[in-house]
Amino acid sequence: MTDTAFTVGTGCPSGLEPPAASAAGDLSAFVRTKGGVSSLNLSVRGAKCGGCLSKIEAALQALPGVEQVRMNLSNGKLRVAWRGPDLANSVAECLTQLGYGVAAFSEDDTAKARKSEERQLLVAMGVAAFALANIMLLSVSVWGGHGEMGLQTRKALHAISGLIAFPVLIFSGRHFFQSAWAALKHGHANMDVPISLALILAFGVSVWETASGGEHAYFDASVMLLFFLLIGRFLDARLRRQAHAAAHDLAALQNRSVTRRSVTGTLETVRAEDVHRGDTIILAAGERAVIDMKISTGISSVDESLVTGESLPRTVQRGETIYAGTINLDQPMTGEALGEATDSLLSEIAGMLEAGEQNRARYRKIADRAVSLYVPFVHTTAALTLVAWLMLGASPREAILVAVATLIITCPCALALAAPVAQVVASGNLFKRGIFLRSGDALERLAEVDHIVFDKTGTLTLGTPRLVSHHGEELARAACLARASRHPLSRAIVEAAGPGELADQIEETPGLGVEGWIDEQRYRLGSAEWVGAERAREADGPTLWFASDQGDPIQFDFEDQLQADAAAALEGFEHTNVPVEILSGDTERAVSRVADQLSITTWRAKVSPQGKVDRLTTLRNQGKKVLMVGDGLNDAGALALAHASLAPGGAMDVSQSASDAVYSGGLSAISSVLAVAKRTRGVMLQNFGLAAAYNLIAVPIAVTGHVTPLIAAIAMSASSLIVTLNALRINQGGTQ
């Protein structure tokens, strides 16, 4: 980088976000070249303000050959286009130096489909708004000229309104008609059936009235109905797209590129999706496996904490299988790629996910329950109105007009807006706190939680060991050896010792330790047997031994550190009387230590993935609404089965997609999610209450035949506005 102005501080200059660590692998596999111009779409983490925007764009513009840089601040997407040699990795490096996390981003088909759906709804809404404004213009003159306007003029104004309304109803209303038709064909009735019916009847009656020179035409009402309903539909689509994009982004932040040995023996970087079964994969030291592989050469220790929950590394060698999510610690390994779900563990987890999802699909949303009460009520009322008026001796024309007016005024504008508006406001609120919702109805389930189950490694704890015993001078020497190793315990020693020198002639033996020379003396750092220590002191966590040829071995103790805010967060749950328990795949000793520190009385250690699912099933059968919080592959089944689930940002992608929301930045996020979910649920229920209250007032007016198009217009817009304003209250209170 040439420009010194940009090296002053890293990360967001406003201090809204700390500098983010980058998880990018080789990005060149994601470059697309077309007509000499190469482009790369990246997802950038940590950019929050205008300063970030100019910092990023200016720095990248300064790279040789770059033609276009455009950063989207709303969704953190960055598009870079350049001519000439491959810049992918220098772009990534530049962003990393600036203090932003970066990952390759490729839009999947679902995202594209959602985007086009959202755009169609937006256009439909715009067209409806245009029609509404113009018809209203004409309607106001009809209402204003009541009693004075001549029949011919009124007829003409109604006819023009009808001419505007007809194409708009077909164009903008097709979303409802199609959905209603599809539901009717399968013998169901959804919300769109009464909507379509009201739209069509309102239009039909108005045409009839216009032709016969009647006083009231409901063209304005039907288009207004359409407009408000489309707002609700649009917000819903936008929310779903954002939730999908957030989930997709989080998955993209994990390295998805793989080093493959091609047939000719050369190494190439390819995307994980492009790897076929049987390909030869190279897993470098420090790299995280993104696909399952069977090791063919090499021996190394691996960190499987994301797969099994076990916090201590394991030594693997030829013939063994490692799963996606495993981190290779010491030596490069070669392996053969395995197909999907070929192995018992993965197919077992896939089965659990499926079972969990089926279970979740059975959950009935509040909105659906409201609709199922509402639809029969409205149709019965309209039908009874028709019959009653006929029996009281009204003319069929009059009776039909009153019945249709009833149908129009009770049509669910407020009902259609009640849930989506609240969900959009809540998800925006959570997004600002670094919490990404994966679905709107997740909030409803989160609000009902009365029991919390935590995974330990990586959720309650940081998942990385920290040195707890101190040895001063010996520590500095041990660090000289440890600096050469990627083993988490070595890393912990280096972190405690700080920067320093490296020993000579370092040799690392996977699964045993590191050996090297300092001041003409040979030192070893590793397991007790390998170093030659006999008296192993009792320790709570993992240990490491360090000794010279002559001296006595020294023991280093480590522990998996708790998340900084774990104690405070759990105390909060205690206050709200929500029972908490731990389900971990780790050893009994490690789990009991964490449980003691957090004063959690219920815990289980050495739990298999199936064990976690079983425990959750038991709790469910006891009628508990369980919130599962976990990050590993071994938690995925439990996450999918739980009533609601959360995963931290560093979780496996399988676990993220099995959970309802993904949070970043500590366990305190959990209590904010629950608080916002409760508030949202409250507001949604209020909104449905308001919609019901509206109907209580509107129905008697309609049934008695006092609804004019003017009253319908005022009632519909007022109820929609009240519901929307009420939803904005979610942002009040509890914000930090």
Binding site: C49, G50, L53, S54, M71, N72, L73, S74, N75, R119, L122, V123, G126, V127, F130, A133, N134, L137, L138, T153, I160, I164
Partner: protein, 49 residues
Amino acid sequence: MTIIVYLIPVALGLGLLGLIAFLWSVNSGQYEDLDGAAHRILIDDDNPL
């Protein structure tokens, strides 16, 4: 009252103009980055016209 024969088409035409502008803004991606636009205005232009 014959004036409305002209006024109504004029009103419709103006509305249509607004609709076309809206469709153009949707299709040219102006709703893609609402936060960024708010911040971009604050960025100093090093090469003023």
